[in-house]
Amino acid sequence: MTRIDQFESVFRAAAKSRYTPGEVKLDRIMVVTDLDADAGRRYTARIATFLEGVTGIDSAAWTALHGETETVGALLEAVQNHEPDLVCTYRNLHSGSFRWPYTLGDHAAVLTQVTRAPVLLLPRPEDMTDEAVNNTDRVMAITDHLAGDARLVDHAVAFTRTGGRLTLAHVEDDGVFERYLDVVGKIPEIDTDTARELIRARLLKEPADYVETIRQALAEGGLGAGIQVASEITMGHQLSVYRALVERQRIDLLVLNTKDDDQLAMHGLAYPLAVELRRVPMLML
């Protein structure tokens, strides 16, 4: 390694991402169900209870579409017309496929990718119990790239009730890590043990440093006052670790990114989580 590389590395490491709080607008909320009007009203009321304490929710204007968006096209058109700041819906809308829990259904899958508004994916009406959907006391934001993801943090902060706990989770995929280390182990010029130790430490340090700036920014700005910020930064099989964390901490709301600039399909981690954690509300950005 040349000395230029050495110093560049030091300075790149010193140039850290800092969290700057941004505004989360929740002026217009749209609820989309495939229920009849009465059931739809009850479902909407439950959502409103669930979201009590979310920043800016008190002054939001609610629009409910119950059974009016049978086709994906109709749903997208409705979203385009209303320009909501948040769309609330559930899996397998207008479909019987919810009996086979292997997909989200066409509506939710397309909606999360097409609309710019966050989608709050809730349990289906039959699973919408008080126990499952109570409040947003325990919110977890999950990502494999926390550092610099201010939008994700903004929404997670906004959706955590005062007095609640926000967990910022960052799990590095150990499968990918081991694959690269396997290659490093075959390159004589690189010391494998040193590479393992330093890369692992660096991968985990960056999100940890970012969490620290989040704590500082929230404290300095008086934002998120009364929110306890915790972090879970580790390596492992992402899906297993997140699932275990959600269950162990009895998370009320998961906040995650679903869009991927490189592909049309949902972000690699979001889809399996959304399919498997069917009873956990998810805010999909």
Partner: protein
């Protein structure tokens, strides 16, 4: 065999030069030209400096001894002991090697504490991300680091930071201007102290110029040349202050993300390194006046500080030994041997006769011509052989220590490095960082951009020399 008095050095041995035929002198002069050409085309022939100098040292020694030019036999040390010390070992200027080895190790270990990166990041944050303030901060930092550390390390530290910080500020369009300016400033900073560059060490020690004397003479020029260079660069590359409060606030937020503590290995070692760096500068500066140190010399100071710093890494000092620029040290050793042989072969006397014509032009014209000629020569090949050769010749001609001619060589050898990218190691590093950042910069492009700066600096140096130093 007649013993040589070691204390008096090799110069004493050659004080009564043998009658060397002209054809022999011509052969050795040819060798010297060959060495200089090989060094100039080092990149083309894909050979390291140490090897080039080593090959010429071997040939010179072999021929020198075969032709009976070299004094052989025992030497007598200051205790009157007879030592068998090969003639080629006596040719090496060990104090110079000691200063370079000791200060390189010291700087390397001190860098590991994060001290210099801490200073660099602090300055970046203090600038608030304003490009104009950054240019001044980085410019002054380049000069100071070049003076305290060495040109190459200064360029690496400041150049690396520049690339990262301008990237963070979305100012990559200014990167070329910044890097070029910093490259040019390394050679100005290299003029500030006796130990800032190798030509300074070689010429300064030969002329008997003390550290403080060197600093007092060079500092005013360095300040003026730095200010002029930065002002010219700001104008040429359109580096101006940020226009409004919103832009300033955005830039401040962007550089606020820099964490100066990131590179710190430990707080205690950081503080220790800061204290030791200050102590190092004080001891080097006072080496000619302080008791004990004035006997042991600057090489002792440099090596002693290196040893003290290495105690921190006592079980892994080999890591720092590996990082020493052995190519540079090998090059010096080989070069000193070649020059010593050239002295015995009367090549230096031959060049000296030519130089006498320049010196005969008088203080005014002679020192000016010598400065410009030194700069021209340094621009196309390594300035170290030039400095070593001219120092030896000026010393041999009995030039007094306060003569302006010494300064002509010092200014010329340093500033000549700003004319071409191969003129100095630090400008070569600047070009390497430019290319690493995928910016276009050809040899001719560098010369075109740098020549106006170098011309202004050389004119300033000549004027300074003629007005204040003659």
């Amino acid at each position: 065999m007649t013993p040589t008095v070691l204390a008096a050095g090799a110069a004493a041995a050659s004080s009564t030069p043998p009658d060397v035929p002209l054809w022999v002198t011509t052969i050795f002069a040819g060798l010297l030209v060959g060495l200089v050409l090989c060094l100039a085309f080092e990149e083309k022939i894909h050979a390291k400096k140490s090897l080039i100098a080593g090959v010429f040292a071997v040939i010179s020694l072999f021929l020198g001894d075969a032709l009976g030019l070299l004094p052989v036999g025992d030497v007598v040390n200051i205790w009157g002991q007879h030592l068998h010390l090969p003639v080629w070992l006596q040719g090496v200027d060990w104090p110079v090697i000691g200063i370079i080895l000791g200060s390189s190790l010291f700087v390397d270990v001190a860098s590991g504490s994060g001290l210099f990166t801490w200073i660099a990041v602090k300055l970046t944050k203090a600038s608030g991300g304003d490009p104009y303030k950054l240019l001044w901060s980085y410019g002054v930092m380049t000069v100071v680091f070049s003076a305290v550390l060495n040109n190459v390390t200064a360029m690496i530290i400041v150049g690396s930071l520049t690339a990262v910080s301008l990237d963070k500020l979305d100012r990559r369009d200014k990167l070329l201007g910044f890097l070029l300016t910093e490259g040019l400033l390394t050679n100005i900073g290299g003029l500030l102290t006796l130990i800032s560059s190798v030509p300074n060490i070689i010429v300064g020690t030969t002329a008997g110029i003390s550290f403080m004397k060197f600093f007092v003479v060079a500092a005013p020029f360095v300040v003026v040349a730095t200010v002029v260079t930065i002002l010219l660069a700001a104008k040429q590359f359109g580096i101006t202050r940020l226009a409004d409060d919103a832009a300033r606030a955005r830039a401040t937020a962007q550089v606020a993300g820099f964490d100066e503590n990131e590179g710190l290995s430990s707080r205690a070692f950081f503080s220790f390194s800061a204290v030791m760096t200050l102590a190092f500068i004080v001891c080097i500066a006072g080496a000619s006046a302080l008791p004990v140190l004035r006997d042991l010399g600057m090489a002792f100071v440099a090596c002693a500080f290196a040893v003290i710093m290495l105690v921190r890494y006592k079980s892994e000092v080999d890591r720092f030994y590996r990082a020493v620029d052995w190519d540079l040290l090998g090059f010096f050793a080989g070069l000193f041997i070649v020059i010593n042989v050239m002295e015995h072969a009367q090549v230096l006397a031959l060049i000296g006769r030519g130089l006498e014509h320049v010196l005969a032009m008088g203080d005014l014209l002679g020192s000016g011509v010598l400065l410009v000629a030194s700069a021209g020569f340094s621009s196309v090949t390594d300035n170290i052989p030039l400095a070593a050769m001219l120092a030896k010749i000026l010393g041999g001609l009995g030039t007094p220590g306060d003569s302006a001619f010494w300064w002509s060589v010092i200014f010329g050898a340093n500033l000549g490095g700003n004319i071409t990218p191969i003129g100095s190691a630090s400008t070569l590093v600047a070009v390497t960082i430019i290319h690493k950042n995928k910016l276009p910069m050809t040899f001719a492009g560098f010369v075109k951009a740098a020549v106006p700066y170098a011309a202004v600096q050389i004119v300033l140096a000549t004027a300074y020399l003629l007005v204040f130093l003659r």
